[in-house]
Amino acid sequence: MNSPKLRIIKNEDIQLLRYWKNLDHIRYKMIENNLIGIKDQRKWFANIDENYTKYFIYSLNDKDVGNVKISNIDYKKKLFEAGIFCGDKSFLNHWINIWACIEIYDYAFNELKLKKAHAIIKNENTGVLRLNKSLGYIYKKNLNNDLQYLTLDKNNYLEASVKIKKYLNNLIKLKNNN
């Protein structure tokens, strides 16, 4: 059974998240990239306001793969930020990462009724820039030599994600039938 899942992070997940965030393939693509200690991670988790930030772990066939989040939710302006990283390197370039993105954006736009996402991304993070473009993000401006600012409207996302969703649904069906 090919079963992708998303679960909201709990206290027992936070050290796995810390382990992932400290891995070189993730850390150096983050804007804040200091190594995180065990206590720092506990403090970070204790300070999360679940109304405004939601962290999830995504998994495939009960194997944890990575993290997706929506953060800085502004319910008045209907605005949010989203992020993803694939913790398990053996799943880099796997469809599960895109499935997780789609789940989180659908959740933000359809369930939380938000209207717009925005993102600040390192220029060197070409994989995420390509991913965001495919999801309908539009480049707005450079913030400095290293960072660019992009936005995503709900309508652009819905249009851009139609074929991606169709393919993922077919793929999961195909796998579960085999």
């Binding site: 469809w95 390509r130 074929k163 393919y167 195909l174």
Partner: protein, 82 residues
């Protein structure tokens, strides 16, 4: 079966992945940075549009070059039509 030739397939592949540089027939797909998780899904959608079948991720992972991918698609498309 689709009548698309390799040259057109290669052109569509590059266009859909926004690849600006040249790709040789024998370039390894794993060496094309645009052929990441989103790139593979984009390629899958392209294949579905052209060849009218859903390609699985394992095939995309196993296939070494664009020429080989084209061959796989033509064969699968022919089988489907029989």
């Amino acid at each position: 079966m689709s009548e698309i030739n390799f040259k057109s397939f290669s052109r569509e592949f590059k266009k859909s992945l926004s690849i600006k540089y040249e790709i040789e027939d024998n370039t390894f797909l794993k060496d094309i940075s645009e052929f990441d998780s989103m790139g593979k899904i984009t390629t899958s959608v392209l294949i579905e549009d052209i060849f009218k079948f859903t390609i699985d991720f394992e095939t995309l992972d196993k296939t070494k070059t664009l020429a080989e991918l084209y061959k796989v698609c033509c064969e699968r498309s022919q089988k489907k039509d029989k």
